[in-house]
């Protein structure tokens, strides 16, 4: 399982994450910055989410491993 965190303060609103994994990342209507649609995405999206974190030009996305039976699953 992965847990995703975003920092809208440093987000550059490039939209890369929304393009790569629309199920997890969205963009705010107001200023285009990242909105986390799913902080605990399903396992099959984990690789894509890591790619999104790697490709984020502002380094605003972090991905954390967590126990599969942790809270929220």
């Amino acid at each position: 399982m992965v847990e995703v965190r975003v920092d809208a303060e440093i987000c550059a609103a490039s939209g890369m994450c929304t393009l790569l994994v629309p199920a997890v990342f969205d963009q705010s209507e107001e200023d285009g910055t990242v909105v986390l649609a799913d902080p605990a995405p399903p396992a099959e999206l984990a690789a894509k989410v890591r790619t999104a974190a790697l490709r984020c030009p502002a380094g605003a996305i972090s991905v954390h491993e967590r126990e599969a039976d942790g809270p929220g699953t």
């Binding site: 490039s14 939209g15 393009l19 200023d31 285009g32 490709r55 030009p57």
Partner: protein
Amino acid sequence: MPDESQHQFDHARRAGFGPSDDIRRQRAQGALVREEVAPAPGAAPEPIWMALSYEAVRQVMGDHVRFSNQRRFRAQAIRGGSKHRPQEMSGHLMDYDQPEHTRLRKMLTPEFTVRRIQRLKPVTEAIAERCLDAMERKGRPADLVELYASPISGAVLCELLGVPRDDRREFLVKHQWQLEQDRSRKERAAAQAYTSNYLRALVKRQRKDPDEGFIGQLIRDHGDNFDDEELIGICGLMVLAGLDNVNGMISLGVLALLEHPDQLAVLLADPENTVDRVVDELLRFLSVAHAPTPRTAVEDVVVAGQLIKAGEEVVCSIPMANRDPVLAPDVDRFDVNREPLPHIAFGHGIHHCIGAALGRMELRTAYLALWRRFPDLRLAVPADQVPHKTNSIAYGLERLPVAW
């Protein structure tokens, strides 16, 4: 206008689809190398740093605290004290540092979100179809740059800015004249005056009666936060960023696909599902933007083990960074089947291209529509006779004769 000096830089030279042999030789010397570059045409060369590795380029572009985009820093760096202090171009995001950059960019980004750009998709598709109709009417062979790449990028930009149909041809022609090195200085100055006067009138019209387009929306949402000079500058930046880069990507992308039939076959076998991957790999492989705005160190910084002193300038080579072997051992191969490689064709850091989603949508639409209409598209001349652009803001082709 971008620095004309950019045209003098070696990094703008290419060999085929990739970086020039010269810059590859420089890369072999290190991730950061010193180069002598003329800051303006005819001026005496000055030393400058070239960042050539993926990591070094990302480090410089990602560090907006210790590297500045502002012209006044660059002027000091080049001329030490400087006779004149060039002003930032009003509204030009690429010339700004924080917090001014953030102030402007936050107001602009809602217009460029992935969702907002989807609204321009039907318009872009209709534009592509009109261009294809014109190609059919003209008959083969046809120049894909003249009849497809250039009119699509031009029409989408004009839709975005709200330039009326009747004005488009002249507006785009005059923009082109400004950039053509073989025109006289007088001719270029006149074209520049035409373009800036046109944008000034456009902004005035929108102030009075804002429409549903990009400028109208900005004025409705943030009218009081922008002065006219900023709005004109923003329009000017859209023009610079939205034409040559897109034109170059469409025409070079078509050539690359025609020259790699195995890769084209992947696209043709399942266009809708493979096109995004094709676009992404083409963005990396072609890297049409030579370099972002040069950065000036505002303090001493160590990048890739190399000390860059406060006041020194760094030019980041996008094509070389995107061909760094750390990304993949066969990084020079155009391969749409591989797991997409990370690349920085749209830049990195806070200045990452604001129009990235728009650009991707335009490319996707252009490639899909072209091969849907002409599935047996082919070159009308041998590939080595296709003239590449050697002296322009973005890499591209002068002409691309095709048949079907």
